[in-house]
């Protein structure tokens, strides 16, 4: 009896969930105007980082402009491993999505499914992070190495090209942030011989951890003059650490990415500059590129650098 009840309840749950899921496409069908309608699946690394939400906003804005595109945002809830993301790509193939926009967590692990999608005739647009295959239609990303070099030049300028600096990175082993660390290092070592990088710590993008690591660096090196942070969480943590230590004047922070928190700290002077990517452009141009491809056209340039903007106190108002 109990078992029956449980199964019944489960059945009701499944039906109601399925009902919810069904609702969306029906609405879309009735709203669709003339011409063909396309469903495009956007798969990012997770669905909570502001960065990905901006990609999504850009994609949705482009879809709204074009009018005949529906964007399905299908990202893992939290940071996961690449196999979960590969399953999402497979789902999109099975659901006969008209195009797939993918920010790959792992360039090797996602290669087979990207190729599978292409075999199934589905255009693949890569955004933010690539896959090690030539079999894609367009790749929109920040040239992270170039951005990191720009960050190095900015920090070097701020500290008068001499002194001790520390690095707070996000995830050890993640392609994007490791590029930001390594390109920064190479630039400092080759161009600014009087700057010494005393060490690197990995905050996992956790603001508390970044704050703690930065505080420990300031304790360990009282003569520290600069800190470079490689993503939003690290930048906010480091900015707060410097602000709380009252060292905004003596320690220059150059970070990466943008958010309300980063903005506040730049206003306060605790962060001197932040390399702001253009995730909105990635999503926006990504959908535009996908639209070109699905309607039989070709993208003129396959690999597109969406660039960075250096956010400082002076241009804060212009950054979105």
């Amino acid at each position: 009896m109990k078992k029956l009840l449980a199964m019944l309840l489960f059945g009701v749950l499944v039906i109601s969930v399925a009902g919810c899921a069904k609702e969306a496409p029906e609405k879309e069908g009735s709203a669709g105007g003339e011409g063909e309608n396309y469903t495009m699946t956007l798969i990012t690394m997770d669905s909570m980082d502001e960065h990905w939400l901006k990609v999504k906003n850009g994609a949705e804005a482009a879809a709204a402009e074009l009018g005949n595109i529906k964007v399905v945002f299908d990202a893992p809830q939290t940071k996961v491993d690449a196999t979960v993301q590969a399953q999402l790509v497979e789902n999109a193939i099975v659901n006969k999505s008209d195009a797939i926009l993918l920010a790959a967590l792992d360039k090797e692990a996602l290669k087979p499914v990207v190729e599978k999608a292409k075999e199934a005739g589905i255009p693949v647009i890569l955004v933010d992070s690539g896959v090690s295959t030539e079999n894609y239609d367009a790749f929109l990303s920040t040239d992270n190495a170039a951005a990191a070099e720009l960050a190095a030049d900015n920090l070097a300028e701020l500290i008068g090209k001499t002194g001790k600096i520390a690095i707070i990175n996000a995830q050890a082993g993640a392609g994007t942030t490791m590029t930001r660390e390594n390109a920064f290092r190479d630039r400092i070592e080759s161009q600014y011989p009087d700057i010494e990088i005393v060490g690197v710590q990995y905050s996992d993008g956790d603001k508390q951890k970044a704050l703690n690591y930065a505080t420990d660096y300031m304790t360990q090196y009282p003569d520290l003059v600069g800190i470079y942070a490689c993503n939003e969480g690290s930048t906010v943590g480091v900015g707060n650490a410097v602000d709380q230590a009252g060292k905004s004047d003596s320690i220059h922070v150059v970070g990466f990415d943008f958010s309300a928190d980063v903005k506040g700290l730049i206003e306060k002077g605790a962060i001197k500059a932040s390399m702001v990517q253009n995730p909105y452009v990635m999503g926006y141009e990504g959908i535009k590129a996908a639209s070109t491809v699905v309607s039989g056209g070709q993208v003129s340039v396959k690999d597109i650098d969406t660039g960075v903007t250096v956010a400082t106190k002076d241009n804060l108002a212009d950054i979105k």
Binding site: L53, Q77, T78, D261
Partner: protein, 321 residues
């Protein structure tokens, strides 16, 4: 005869507790000595206060986890509760609710999650691991939904003061940590709720049959863990004047580590707030000291992992003797 056995047992129990007390605290002192010999900046007032501030969230959540571990359970929802408390309080603050009330509302919500955990475990007879695994994911999802994935920033200056301002030269989080450690240490060692907590972990059926209100005690214990996670979440949000929905990920494991280093048993029946305080500080000192020594962050993870296993291993050795 049986009285004599009882006496011997209680005496040896006392001895093992004393030994444990000395072994954990001496572990902490050995670490402190090693680090002060290695780095001149370690044993400075500024750095020690800094270590205490860095350890505050870990200790708060570890005390809740200790209660739960003593009953033979586990609370995996702690990390998510950290984010929930911060985000809830932040939303109310942004809506113009006075800061203390907004903070209490944040704590109320995480206490509610704790009660829910307790009810499902006590009345639903579901395994704590599964129940709190479920609430861990659910609460994280709710927090992300509440914020649309974006941190809530621009919180009032006065809230920030709770996290960074100093009273009599000591940062406020340290006072919060001490007050809660005293309260929860007292409840566990001196009150009926505390004794019931141990009784449940030693032998649940026996405790229930001998009149312990098992259900109510379990609910209270999980509620304590929810509240303490909430306090940690508020302190963390106050330190960075921002409430990210992603705060506290994986922190529940730091809580388990501090508790077991401090002598709590994952099998239930054992643990004490004092031990947990030492356990949390061992982790805090270890992280800070290794940072100051410039030890690679990769090696640090190895060291901390080894310390956790070694602490439990020595504890086990002592028990088998």
């Amino acid at each position: 005869m049986s009285e004599l056995v009882g006496k011997i047992q209680s005496k040896s129990l006392f001895d093992s507790k004393t030994k444990q007390f000395f072994s954990t605290i001496s572990g902490l002192f050995i670490l402190i000595i090693i680090f002060s010999l290695n780095n001149e900046n370690f044993l400075t007032t500024a750095n020690l206060l800094n270590v205490a501030v860095q350890t505050t969230p870990i200790l708060l959540i570890a005390m809740g986890q200790t209660y739960v571990l003593i009953t033979g359970g586990i609370d995996l929802s702690i990390g998510s509760n950290i984010a929930l408390a911060g985000v809830t309080a932040a939303i109310f603050m942004k809506a113009g609710i006075p800061i203390p009330i907004a903070m209490l509302l944040g704590l109320g919500v995480t206490a509610g999650v704790g009660v829910l955990n307790g009810v499902m475990i006590a009345y639903g007879k579901l395994p704590p691991f599964i129940v709190t695994l479920g609430t861990m994911t659910t609460v994280r999802g709710i927090t992300l939904t509440m914020t649309q994935g974006i941190p809530i920033s621009g919180l009032p200056e006065a809230f920030n003061n709770i996290g960074i301002a100093k009273t009599l030269g000591i940062p406020n989080p340290i006072f919060i940590m001490v007050i809660f450690a005293v309260i929860f240490g007292f409840i566990l060692s001196k009150t009926r709720t505390g004794r019931y907590t141990y009784a449940l972990g030693s032998n649940f059926e026996a405790a229930r049959l001998s009149g312990v209100n098992a259900h109510m005690t379990l609910i209270k214990v999980y509620m304590f863990s929810g509240i303490l996670a909430g306090v940690a979440g508020l302190v963390m949000a106050a330190r960075i004047i921002s409430a990210p929905p992603t705060a506290g990920m994986g922190y529940e494991l730091d809580a388990v580590a501090s508790s077991v280093i401090g002598g709590a048993s994952t099998m239930g029946g054992e643990g004490a707030i004092f031990g947990t305080v030492v356990g949390a500080f061992i982790i805090g000192v270890l992280r800070n000291g290794l940072n100051l020594m410039g030890v690679s962050p990769f090696i640090q993870q190895i060291v901390i992992g080894v310390v956790i296993i070694a602490a439990v291993f020595f504890d086990k050795l002592r028990h088998s003797k």
